[in-house]
């Protein structure tokens, strides 16, 4: 809940910074701007923003909500894809021998240092190149007009988080591998695939889940760049065009709420799971 307070506090920051630039601390103005923001937002249906591009007032529902929905779709599709691929690759590499595993890990570790910008540009240029060579347009590289593109941005957004999650998974799985029960299962003659998939997977997934919050944070930043480079009609682009404390607050809450729900439900689920185990 303190996170909520933190977000509200941050939305008024530019007033403070602007004051600091002129060498004065504008605390009272900061507080009053916070007050104004909260007052402005309260009846959510009536909340509206002056759109700088069209010069008209825009209401939160349904206009802005549409932007938010599109961004959230892309974000969570990419996260799901990244998580699925990362887990699949982890299970596969766990089946490899120790030596090959180290090599794969090292390779992916250096792949991780590629900036997301490079990946997005490479994807765009690659599609243009294929189009020029074969006349097949695999996907649109930018949004023009009202249509939406899905799979290319999702792919671009998913690659780096996938590598991050993969590293995380590998660390937890390898930690898990040293536990006693794995040795026991092995001595009982279970195959490696079975142990990794049934036993280790269940235990490791919990700790991966709790640490994946940071990956989503990283993805938020990437999503912003992605919307900019693909010209996607998402909330980030909207926020850039209409920068004001109110929009900032609404946009951040729109990310905060689903993430908060996801992690609360996850926590509740896993904790219940644990307790059930302990009783049984």
């Amino acid at each position: 809940m303190f996170s909520l307070l933190g977000i509200v506090l941050i939305s008024g920051f530019p007033v403070l910074i602007g004051g600091l630039m002129e060498g004065e601390l504008r605390l009272s103005e900061y507080l009053s701007s916070l007050q104004g923001v909260l007052k402005e937002i309260w009846p959510l249906q009536e909340f509206s923003v002056m759109n700088l591009r069209t010069g008209r007032e825009m209401f939160l529902f349904p206009t802005i909500a549409e932007y938010i929905l599109y961004s959230l779709q892309i974000l969570f599709l990419a996260f799901a894809a990244a998580a699925a691929f990362a887990l699949a690759f982890t299970v596969l590499t766990m089946l490899l021998s120790e030596k090959a595993r180290e090599r794969v890990k090292l390779f992916l570790y250096f792949l991780e240092s590629l900036p997301d910008l490079l990946i997005i540009m490479a994807a765009q240029l690659g599609i243009i190149f294929i189009y020029l060579k074969t006349d097949v347009l695999i996907s649109k590289i930018a949004v023009v007009g009202g249509d939406r593109i899905y799979w290319l941005p999702v792919l671009c957004l998913a690659i780096l988080p996938m590598i991050q999650l993969y590293r995380l998974c590998m660390l937890t799985f390898q930690e898990e591998e040293r536990q006693m029960y794995v040795e026991l299962a092995r001595s009982l003659g279970f195959s490696k695939v079975f142990i990794v998939w049934i036993h280790m997977f269940r235990n490791a997934i919990i700790s991966v889940f709790f640490q994946s919050k940071k990956t989503i944070w990283f993805m938020l930043s990437n999503l912003f760049v992605l919307e900019l480079m693909f010209n996607m009609p998402g909330i980030m682009l909207f926020m850039r065009d209409n920068m004001s404390p109110e929009v900032f607050l609404v946009a951040i809450f729109s990310f905060f709420l689903p993430m908060f729900l996801l992690y609360s439900v996850g926590e509740w689920f896993f904790l219940r799971h644990f307790r059930g185990k302990e009783v049984a």
């Binding site: 303190f2 944070w217 760049v225």
Partner: protein
């Protein structure tokens, strides 16, 4: 540390980029070569932007400036700024984190929650939001000088995620604080400061080094992202001329700015945005090489573990074989 090949490669790459940048300015001056067209047999065949050629390894920009020269000149700003941002962030966050982990343990919960709110805000957007009043040139010109602006930007960028790092360090310190040896030294009468100095800091030195490397990498990326919004290191020169307005320009030739101001040319002249980003990637790669090398030099467990693991596995295999033999014998007692 220096004998680790990974660290050596990363360090020499970084040093090459940094000192190459200073040497380039010292030798060729601080204005890159400018060329207006390329002649072949007396005819102009290509005007700016000129694509990469033997003479101009990275091509030229839309005004005919040599891109290689620009990148070499700009490297020092980008690299030093990223290192400085991460260093200042660590310098503030680490003492604060230790305070949090030792003196302020009761308050850790709510401070952590407050810092956690940063996890829901896209870092780039937050940085842009905070830095916009500093970096965007108002119509009447900047109120303060370039170096002042760079200093303000570096400090602000380091403060942005400082709370997150501080809480991270604090959690780690609090974990270590509960270890037996800390308890033992407390029983022997050590103060909290002595515990930090003698136990917590040496225990966490490697983790802090890795954290620093991660911060440097993150800073590079945030700077590149900011440049997409036309917020460049040291301020953005905006032309308010309604008729012949130049596009927003970076004041120095730093890499992020080179990328951001040329991103629109991605399809026509892909080398213009690609090479600066490529150099940023190189810098990030060199940092990650250094981190990997540093870790390997500090705990060469990879080799050791292999050495222990492989014989023990042999023993298991051998036992299995033996077992199987015995079982077979048990199964067919007539053979004996």
């Amino acid at each position: 540390m220096w004998k680790q090949p990974y660290f050596a490669i990363g360090f020499s790459l970084m040093a090459l980029l940094l000192f190459g940048s200073f040497a380039f300015e010292w030798i060729f001056g601080n204005v890159p070569k400018q060329i207006f067209f390329i002649e072949e047999n007396g005819r102009a065949v290509e005007g700016p932007p000129i694509s990469p050629k033997w003479e101009f390894p990275l091509g030229t920009d839309q005004y005919g400036y040599d891109l290689f020269g620009k990148i070499m000149l700009g490297g020092k700003y980008t690299i030093i700024a990223a290192l400085a941002v991460a260093a200042i962030r660590m310098l503030i966050a680490v003492p604060f984190g230790y305070l949090l982990g030792t003196y302020l343990q009761k308050h850790r919960a709510w401070i952590g929650g407050l810092a956690d709110s940063l996890h829901y805000i896209p870092l780039t957007l937050f940085a842009a939001y905070v830095l916009y009043p500093v970096l965007w040139m108002p119509p009447e010109g900047f109120a303060n000088g370039v170096w002042e602006r760079i200093a303000i930007q570096v400090v602000l960028m380091s403060l942005l995620t400082m709370p997150v790092v501080a809480v991270l360090v604090g959690n780690e310190a609090a974990l270590l604080y509960r270890k037996e040896y800390v308890l033992a030294s407390r029983v022997l009468g050590a103060g909290r400061f002595r515990i930090i100095r003698k136990h917590l800091y040496p225990q966490m030195r490697e983790k802090l080094a890795v954290l620093y490397g991660q911060q440097v990498m993150e800073t590079f990326i945030v700077m590149a992202h900011l440049s997409l919004l036309n917020l460049f290191l040291g301020g953005t020169k905006v032309s308010y001329d309604p008729l012949f307005g130049d596009p927003p320009m970076s004041i120095s030739y730093e890499w992020a700015g080179l990328f951001g101001s040329t991103f629109r040319y991605l399809q026509g002249a892909p080398w213009l945005p690609l090479y600066p980003v490529f150099f940023i990637a190189l810098a990030i790669l060199s940092v990650s090489f250094m981190m990997e090398g540093y870790l390997r030099s500090k705990n060469p467990q990879v080799k050791k573990r292999k050495g222990i693991a492989s014989p023990s596995e042999n023993i298991v295999e051998w036992n299995k074989e033996q077992l199987r033999e015995k079982m077979i014998r048990l199964k067919n007692p007539h053979d004996l």
